[in-house]
């Protein structure tokens, strides 16, 4: 059963929120997933919460602008055809569609409250 765990390559740590976890693959192709391809280079591991083997969990990737490693949590980054850390999104907010602008604005007010 442990062969499917994969060997730990290193520890992934989000530069935004400090979330960390060991990762077992990096790239666009999680192991043993056949037709599945990721649209960015990701840090990932076997999904620890799924009893089935060979389910993966993407932990995070690098922001396409500032190259910081960020997790996929919505507090740290968004994916919109590419990965952007939230500070970079804010910096270029006008280039993002309205939906995303509104989302961020909501997040800000929610945080202030």
């Amino acid at each position: 059963m442990d062969t499917s765990e994969g060997t730990v390559i290193g520890v992934f740590t989000c530069e935004q929120c400090d979330l960390s976890s060991p990762y077992t693959f990096y790239g666009q192709k999680p192991p043993n997933t056949r037709a599945i391809v990721l649209l960015e280079e990701c840090y990932g591991m076997r999904d620890p919460f799924n009893p089935e083997r060979e389910k993966f969990l993407v932990l995070g990737s690098k922001c396409c602008l500032c190259k910081k490693t960020v997790c996929v949590g919505t507090e740290c980054s968004i994916f919109y055809t590419k990965r952007f850390c939230l500070p970079c999104v804010r910096e270029h907010l006008e280039q993002f569609p309205e939906q995303i602008q509104m989302e961020l604005a909501k997040k800000k007010t929610a945080k202030k409250m």
């Binding site: 442990d2 979330l19 037709a35 620890p48 089935e52 996929v72 280039q95 569609p97």
Partner: protein
């Protein structure tokens, strides 16, 4: 739902056929999600929701569409698509080009399959589904990490790791809720330590911690984190962190004194001061000086920390504040009229008031469970019953018991969740005080009592007594209410009581019998137990008591060193008496039943107490009962169960239920039995059997067996995957049945539901059972021991008696005239014992009475009979009365002559005193001598063969003795067995039986007699000097038999004691004194036995050395080499 666009005429998303066609594209074998997998079903459910959501969005979106376009900015240096699409938010794609192309080809021929539109829709939904599952799991990870960070101990992570790297021993002290038990092992693991052992005082904690920690370390479905308890382990070669019991780590130390398989040992809950823990600390302390690479972490509540630190040479202490919410303490002392007297049941009213109070004061929507601490199992079942009535009345409570004797599945229930508006009430022993942590407890009710086992060395009796808890325990219990939020603690005692509590509990090492501890210390070569540097040394007297006991039991020799039998016993994880029984059984052909009985006596009784009052259960149990004694009832039960398992497999659960049996215990027996068998084999005490059977097995059969095993392994794996998926929500009637409840076990409505729920757990038990055991082999063994002849059962009873000795009790002489419920028994040291109500002799005491027509009255109270019986028992436990349980009955005379440590006689051997407290009187001197003489011969032979067997036993035991003798010949064993059986069954001597009072016992012996000191008789047995006994007087013939030392004794050589007797073997006919006759009988063998054909050398040397000896005759002043008989003849020559 039907899509009418495109070239598909009738595409129905709901139809299984349509879905199956898409399954061919996206969910093939080897795909990430596979048709018929759990996620596949989830996908299609998701798909429906997604379609609905999309349809709604489209309707709303058509109006906003234009406005959005206007808002989009022109400058696009990030190259982002101008039009928003949620699809751009997903970082996954699914490539199925290959399949689609093929599909396209076939579609040209038969245009019924999904079109590109459908495929695109399905793909989109799949992408969203994958994104959704990713978010779900990632959310769990975030939550987990947040919880870990929020634990008070998290701040100290680096500090702890620093200390562990730099110091051999570190103390981490933290209160409940600081997270030390779950986090410290993880910190160690994640910082690179990879062979970590973490001990726990209780098995249940090993399992629950391993589960929790493997989940937290993201290895829930792997085996990096494992546990190991007596029969169960989840450990694999990949295991880096192992939770195990303190006892088990000690066993490992016994095998590998360096403990080289671990680099870090974490000892948790050291403040609980269990016997094993205190001992473990002592051993680890000395190990640390040898293994400088090893690290030791002690974890404790903030109790008495300085003690541990200073014991380890001033080990650094890291104190972590607990995270406790404020807890309101309410003292509700029990009013005097509700306080139970010693014999009464607990009054449930004070406890019910707590439940009622909660119902009145707190709205049902405010969640929060109640944890109720009681002293013991009996108390739990009393209160459980009352609370259940209240619960079924109000519908607001689910009542669950929690104690260590519940099965794991039952214990697990306390972690399940109550439905909304309902609270759990967990009624627990102090097991929930520290080790078992239940989330969601807001209320604690504390009885302030605990039941603890203490040991009375004088009566050699366990005592289960109720005590007030200590202030430390009281605070621990209270703390359980404030783990998840502010809580309330109801103390059912006064504040002044609390002030008067002792500060800490008494360490176990000061309370219990130390036999096993001393034995283990001896086997680990730790020298004199009295000088072992315990953290808090036990009183020297209790170590002395243990040493004396072990010497008595033959486990230690006179110098206090381990004997071969002692070495073997030290490796058996059972009581000394049970271990002895195993060794004795291995000598004769009785291994199978002895294994079963030894296992049965080492686990809790499978008989549910509640079922006793159920007439259906009693009737169904009837055929299993044996009036020979409880071990035989257990044997019958196990054998019958094995038969049922062989025939019906999983049907055994129902079979057990009907008989009021806890099947878990039977599984435990099967496991323990197997462990015993392997131990005996590994010590050469048991022939490796069954090999010819295996080779005779055909290839086809073997293949079948292998595939069966594979199937079972598969089932087992599946079960493990399912396990721990999520907590179940409890049903309202949960806990309304079950072993410790007072209600009927077979109430139909709940029982049928329970069976359904239990079907899974039964299956897995069955699977584990079949994986572990060769069922057909077990059945054969069961068959063999089910058909035991009366001769075999007689021998088995004798083995039990010898194994259990000195745990013997005599019935009171007036029992025949008493009511069944008032039968009284006495041991040597304890009077007025009763039989435990579960015993067969409690329900059927007549089998112990001397039949009236058999006895001949000889005046006042002196009833002569050949039918007197005694009980050998496994436990003597005092609760509110002293009870014996697990008894077997035996004829008094035969049993005592064969096992007693001291046999004293008068001159003509018509009066015998055994072990200084049982007096037997025989009117017929001629008849009296016969059994005594036979017993002396049988015992000598038994001892010789047993020593030979043990001397032959494996390397572990021979090293202690330094010789390997010949294995006892089967012929000799058969003869001994025959002799013992005949002695036990066919000795017909009428005798009177009397227990001696203390005063009588004091004035028993004539005392040393100066005049006779120069008189020495030839030894009765080779190598044994018969000499005047310096204390009792008379002659010490063997190490247990002293002749003519009783007060009414006559002159040793008085001619009037001589009577004519002819030896049946050598035809010698002449007048003998009793002693001379016994000497002759001991040495004279029938002619045909003197020359056994096999192995003539050994026998001959043995024969010559045992039969002749150097005799110096004073009359003719010659030294002669004669046998004892020849010496007698020679002497008579001079007399004549």
């Amino acid at each position: 739902m039907c899509d009418k666009r495109g070239d598909t005429q009738e595409w129905d998303w709901g139809s299984p056929q349509c879905r199956a066609q898409l399954d061919e594209v996206f969910f093939r074998q080897h795909d990430y999600i596979q048709a018929r997998g759990a996620e596949h079903a989830e996908f299609w459910t998701f798909f429906e929701r997604f379609q609905r959501f999309k349809a709604k969005k489209e309707m709303a979106g058509s109006r906003e569409g234009k406005a959005r376009k206007k808002g989009a900015t022109g400058a696009a240096d990030l190259g982002l698509p101008k039009e928003y699409d949620p699809r751009y938010r997903i970082n996954v794609s699914v490539r199925t080009r290959d399949v689609e192309d093929r599909l396209e080809g076939s579609r040209r021929r038969t245009p019924t399959g999904p079109g590109s539109q459908e495929i695109a829709e399905c793909r989109l939904a799949l992408l969203h589904f994958l994104d959704f599952t990713q978010k779900q799991s990632f959310g769990k990870l975030v939550k987990l990490r947040r919880e870990q960070r929020n634990l008070p101990i998290f701040q100290y992570r680096d500090r702890i790791l620093d200390l562990v790297r730099n110091y051999p021993a570190v103390v981490v002290a933290g209160d409940t809720g600081c997270g030390k038990s779950t986090q410290v092992p993880q910190y160690l693991m994640s910082s690179g330590f990879s062979h970590i052992a973490c001990t726990q005082p209780r098995r249940i904690a090993c399992i629950s911690l391993a589960k929790r920690v493997s989940m937290e370390s993201l290895n829930q479905y792997g085996s990096k984190v494992g546990y190991q308890i007596r029969f169960e382990t989840s450990r694999t070669p990949a295991t880096k962190l192992l939770f195990l019991t303190e006892g088990l780590l000690l066993r490992q130390l016994q095998q590998d004194g360096q403990l080289s398989r671990y680099s870090v040992v974490v000892v948790d809950e050291v403040h609980e001061r269990h016997l094993h823990c205190d001992f473990l600390l002592g051993v680890l302390r000395s190990l640390l000086s040898q293994r400088t690479d090893m690290r030791l972490v002690l974890m404790s509540a903030t109790i008495n920390i300085a003690l541990f630190s200073s014991y380890f040479g001033g080990a650094p202490v890291l104190q972590v504040p607990g995270r406790l919410f404020p807890i309101q303490v309410i003292y509700q002392p029990i009013p005097p009229e509700e306080q139970a007297s010693r014999s009464e049941k607990l009054d449930p009213r004070p406890y019910l008031r707590v439940l009622q109070g909660i119902d009145q004061r707190y709205p049902a929507e405010e969640r929060g469970d109640l944890l109720l601490f009681l002293s013991g199992m009996a108390e739990i079942s009393t209160i459980l019953e009352a609370c259940q009535t209240y619960a079924s009345h109000t519908g607001r409570w689910i009542i669950l018991p929690l104690h260590s004797t519940l099965s794991i599945a039952q214990q697990d229930k306390v972690f399940d969740i109550a439905p909304p508006g309902v609270r759990k009430c967990i009624i627990s022993t102090n097991i929930a005080e520290t080790s078992v942590t239940i989330d969601g407890v807001r209320f604690v009710a504390d009885s302030g009592k605990v039941k603890e086992m203490s040991f009375d060395p004088k009566a050699k009796m366990q005592r289960l007594q109720e005590f007030w808890i200590s202030r430390a325990s009281s605070e621990q219990r209270k703390g359980r209410a404030g783990r998840t939020g502010p809580g309330v603690c109801y103390r059912l005692y006064a504040e002044s009581d609390y002030e008067a509590f002792a500060p800490y509990p008494v360490p176990e090492i000061h309370r219990v019998a130390l036999d096993s501890l001393v034995l283990q210390m001896k086997s680990m070569g730790l020298g004199d137990p009295r000088s072992f540097p315990f953290i808090d040394p036990p009183p020297a007297s209790s170590i002395q008591t243990a040493i004396t006991y072990l010497k008595q039991q033959g486990a230690l020799d006179t110098r206090g060193e381990l004997t071969p039998i002692g070495r073997l016993l030290s490796q058996l994880p059972v009581d000394v008496v049970i271990g002895k029984l195993l060794v004795l059984g291995s000598l004769f052909n009785l291994v199978e039943p002895v294994l079963t009985i030894a296992a049965a006596l080492s686990v809790q009784s499978p008989f549910l107490r509640t079922a006793q009052h159920n007439p259906d259960c009693s009737t169904a149990r009837q055929p299993l009962n044996s009036d020979l004694g409880d071990p035989f009832t257990l044997l019958n039960t196990f054998n019958a169960w094995v038969q049922v398992k062989g025939e019906r497999g999983g049907g055994s659960r129902k079979w057990c239920r009907r008989r009021g049996l806890e099947e878990q215990r039977l599984y435990e027996m099967a496991n323990l039995r197997r462990q015993f068998k392997e131990l005996l084999k590994s010590h050469g005490l048991l022939e490796e059997g069954g090999q010819d059977r295996v080779s005779a097995e055909g290839r086809a059969q073997r293949r079948e067996r292998l595939s069966e095993r594979q199937r079972l392994h598969q089932l087992h794996r599946e079960h493990q995957l399912q396990e721990g998926r999520r907590r179940k929500v409890l049903r309202l009637d949960e806990g309304a049945e079950g072993p410790s409840s007072g209600s009927d076990t077979d109430t139909p409505p709940s029982a049928s539901k329970d069976q359904e729920g239990a079907a899974n757990s039964m299956d897995i038990q069955e699977v584990k059972f079949k994986l572990r055991h060769n069922v057909s082999e077990l059945r054969e063994a069961a068959c063999a021991s089910a058909d035991m002849s009366s001769r075999q059962t007689a021998l088995l009873r004798l083995l039990l008696c010898r194994g259990l000795y000195p745990q013997l009790a005599l019935p009171d002489e007036h029992n025949a005239t008493r009511k069944d419920s008032e039968q009284v028994f006495h041991t040597r040291n304890k009077q007025g014992i009763v039989i435990h109500p579960t015993s067969v002799f409690a329900s059927d005491p007549e089998v112990l009475h001397v039949p009236e027509h058999e006895s001949s009255a000889l005046g006042a109270g002196k009833e002569e009979s050949s039918k007197h019986q005694l009980l050998a028992f496994v436990t003597l436990l005092e609760t509110n009365r002293p009870y014996v349980s697990n008894c077997v009955r035996l004829p008094v005379l035969q049993a005592l002559l064969l096992v007693a440590d001291s046999v004293d006689s008068n001159a003509d051997c018509t009066r015998l005193v055994l072990d200084g407290w049982v007096e037997l009187g025989m009117a017929d001197a001629e008849a009296a001598l016969k059994p005594l003489s036979s017993a002396l011969t049988l015992r000598a032979e038994w001892e010789r063969l047993l020593q030979a067997q043990l001397g032959h036993a494996g390397p572990a035991s021979t090293s202690g003795l330094g010789f390997t003798g010949p294995k006892p010949a089967r012929r000799e064993l058969d003869k001994l067995r025959e002799g013992l059986v005949r002695f036990l069954l066919y000795t017909e001597v009428n005798y009177s039986l009397k227990r001696l009072t203390g005063l009588q016992a004091q004035n028993l012996y004539v005392g040393p007699q100066v005049g006779h000191s120069e008189l020495t008789l030839p030894p009765l047995f080779p190598g044994m000097q018969s000499e005047p006994d310096p204390v009792k007087g008379g002659l010490r013939i063997t190490n247990y038999f002293t002749y003519n030392c009783l007060c009414d004794s006559k002159d040793l050589y008085s001619e009037c004691l001589r009577t004519f007797w002819s030896c049946p073997h050598c035809d010698l006919h002449m007048p003998f004194t009793p002693l001379e006759r016994m000497q002759h009988e001991a040495t004279c063998r029938p002619a045909e036995e003197q020359q056994p054909e096999e192995d003539p050398d050994t026998v001959k040397t043995a024969a010559s050395s045992s039969l002749t000896r150097l005799y110096h005759c004073d009359v003719c002043n010659k030294s002669l080499n004669l046998t004892s008989t020849e010496i007698l003849r020679h002497k008579r020559q001079h007399l004549a």
